[in-house]
Amino acid sequence: MAKLTFIGGVHPYDGKDLSKDKPIVELQPKGDLVYPLSQHIGAPAKAIVAKGDRVLVGQKIAEAGGFVSAHIYASVSGTVKAIEPRRVPSGDQVMSIVVENDGLYEETKYAAVKPFEELNREEKIKLIQEAGIVGMGGAGFPNHVKLSPKEPAKIEFVIANCAECEPYLTSDYRRMLEEPEKVISGMKVVLSLFENARGILAVEDNKPDCVELLKKLTRDEPKITVKALKTKYPQGSERQLIYAVTGRAINSAMLPADAGCVVDNVDTLVAIHNAVIEGRPLMKRIVTVTGDAIGDPKNFLVRIGTNYQELVDAAGGFRAEPAKLISGGPMMGIALFDLNVPVIKTSSAILCMTEDDVQKWEPGACINCGKCAEVCPGRVLPSRLADFAEHYDEEQFLKYNGMECCECGCCSFICPAKRRLTQSIKSMRKIQLSKRKK
């Protein structure tokens, strides 16, 4: 049988060897914790604590600002020092709650957990909503919204996105190896919400150990299957993943639910398990700290709100002068000015590289080689779109399906002239998206 995959894509150097064999270690923060009120898609949360208040581990400190929004919980005990704008990994200044850590980790009293069997659909979704869970793969879409499609009976597949196609990232890999039962438990919770759905754990075949382990553990689960996908970036992109697994293709204007699918990332499923089975809100996540500038690359279990600098220090600091700091992976991550930003719900990695490819290569003239079109998973013509974007030709940009770009970065990566195609297309898309909202 042909391997499950999609058309297009690239094979960048994967760099996972740096950190893939490093077991997850828990990191206790020393400095202040910063909780931005907006670390998800949708309305910002509203702070429900004030300066001077004492907070406990697991205490809700900000309430969702609407249905498409998420609560935020304190991950340490201590005192609210300030509520002020702070820089977040995306580079924006966002209103944040700053908590001075007292180092006691005193926990709040959690509500008693009902046995799973006694929970009904609404109660389960309520628990997930209460826990403040958002898509932890990077998008940060509030999970309870995703789990509440118009017609739940039409959902046929719940897909666990275990692809981890971004180079260098190993947080999902470690999670699957070390706590696979939590991933599977989270999957079972989501499956219980959709009566007609089958569960699929979709793993890239560069992680054969995970495939084996998950297969072994789901042997007696008739509704769950493990599928190995061809290793190729961006296999973990939602639309490409759905296509590889089900053969159904959705365009940018459609939702996974339109193809009868719900897709959740590994860490999100673990958060769902923690919320529904253990009654704990989202307070921690796994962050890979890696790159050739890092002394001792590691995978950390981190309390959300911890400063990036603390993570880098705990990973042996810099062994060489870094030229580029990235929050996330090298293909879709966000470049950082400095490390003084907090871990948020969607922070998957801190990547520190001694070489900056973007600065190294000066963009040249397009030679029309067509490589960008060959690798584009959106099946559009990136070189033309970038031209239209640079000349602000909205009409042509839309006609050439510019909005179908998923900003995966394959075109800029492959371009022999080193043109910044993704950047130009992304800028134009932002303008068009903001126009749509109006």
Binding site: P12, A249, A365, I367, C415, K418
Partner: protein, 310 residues
């Protein structure tokens, strides 16, 4: 503030392939044909190749210097143009033909339209056609020390018999680089294996050309005749090295098939019904002119809008 790192949009890594790498690979892939040409035609061919390449590179350098533009000769694209043009000249041509052709290719066809990536016509072919029209007798004089008389394709057209084996190996009269099918295909394999070109255009070109001459050549399915038509003239050099020129071929997949088919049909028409035995150069530059139209009607469908299947 010196601690602030460089911030840029994703992706933050780049593949190793660069424009100059690609051009260098094309130069390497042209070497078998060049070497065979020099072996076949002797020192005259070597001199003409060197003069032509020097004139294309120098023209680009001087133009950019005079216009205060960035010097781009380091990307080897001028070398490719010079080499391709030289391979399309008869070895008997005087040295100044290489100079005039080189200047025309770079200055008129490439730089005046904006330089690399902006020309709508293959510079080497544009220059060859200019020379063919302006200096017809020089450009069609294939007499040299080794061979005298007509090219095999001309002989074929006037109904004489030709030695197909000689044509495949390249021991015939013709332009410097077009005679050896073996050398050209060897070079093409380098480009295909390194992913610089693929078989869409050459494949569609050659297949449609064969179908055309079987239908209209008046000889039916005569394998010796077909082989001679394929090995003769500039077809192989054109199909693998000039029709595949990135800048002047369609970027869309279906457009590339369409482009190849168009070239096959035009070459067939020119060779069978035109006054000359040749037709590749004119077919390709005519095809170049149609590229914007071809792209327009072959825009790909986006993923999720019907474009998900290969």
């Amino acid at each position: 503030m010196s601690d602030l790192r460089n911030v840029s949009s994703n992706p933050h890594i780049r593949s190793k392939m660069t424009t100059s790498n690609i051009m260098l690979l094309v130069v390497i892939a042209l070497l078998p044909a060049t070497c065979f040409g020099i072996y076949n035609f002797g020192i005259d061919a070597l001199i003409l190749v060197l003069v032509t390449v020097a004139s294309t590179v120098l023209t680009e350098y001087l133009y950019e210097k005079l216009m205060h533009k960035k010097i781009t000769v380091g990307d080897f694209s001028a070398v490719v143009t010079g080499l391709l043009l030289a391979l399309n000249l008869p070895s008997s041509a005087p040295w100044w033909i290489g100079v005039v052709g080189g200047v025309f290719a770079i200055l008129v066809v490439k730089m005046l339209f904006g330089g690399l990536g902006q020309n709508f016509m293959n510079p080497a072919l544009g220059a060859r056609c200019f020379l063919l029209i302006s200096f017809t007798s020089i450009m069609t004089n294939f007499d040299c020390d080794t061979y005298s008389g007509a090219t095999p394709l001309a002989a074929l057209k006037s109904g004489e018999s030709v030695n197909v084996m000689d044509m495949i190996i390249g021991r015939t009269a013709g332009t410097i680089g077009e005679t050896s099918m073996i050398a050209i295909v060897t070079g093409a394999c380098i480009l295909i294996l390194t992913g610089v070109i693929d078989l869409k255009i050459p494949g569609a070109y050659i297949v449609s050309f064969v179908i055309f001459i079987v239908l209209f050549g008046g000889r039916g399915f005569d394998s010796a005749y077909i082989s001679a038509q394929l090995a003769g003239g500039g077809l192989m050099l054109g199909a693998f090295f000039m029709a595949t020129d990135y800048v002047t071929r369609p970027i869309t997949k279906n457009g590339q098939y369409l482009f190849g088919i168009f070239l096959g049909i035009m070459t067939g028409i020119f060779r069978l019904f035109g006054p000359s035995a040749e037709g590749v150069s004119y077919a390709i530059i005519l095809g170049n002119l149609l590229v914007p139209l071809i792209e327009k009607i072959t825009l790909p469908k986006a993923f999720g809008k019907g474009g998900e299947r290969a």
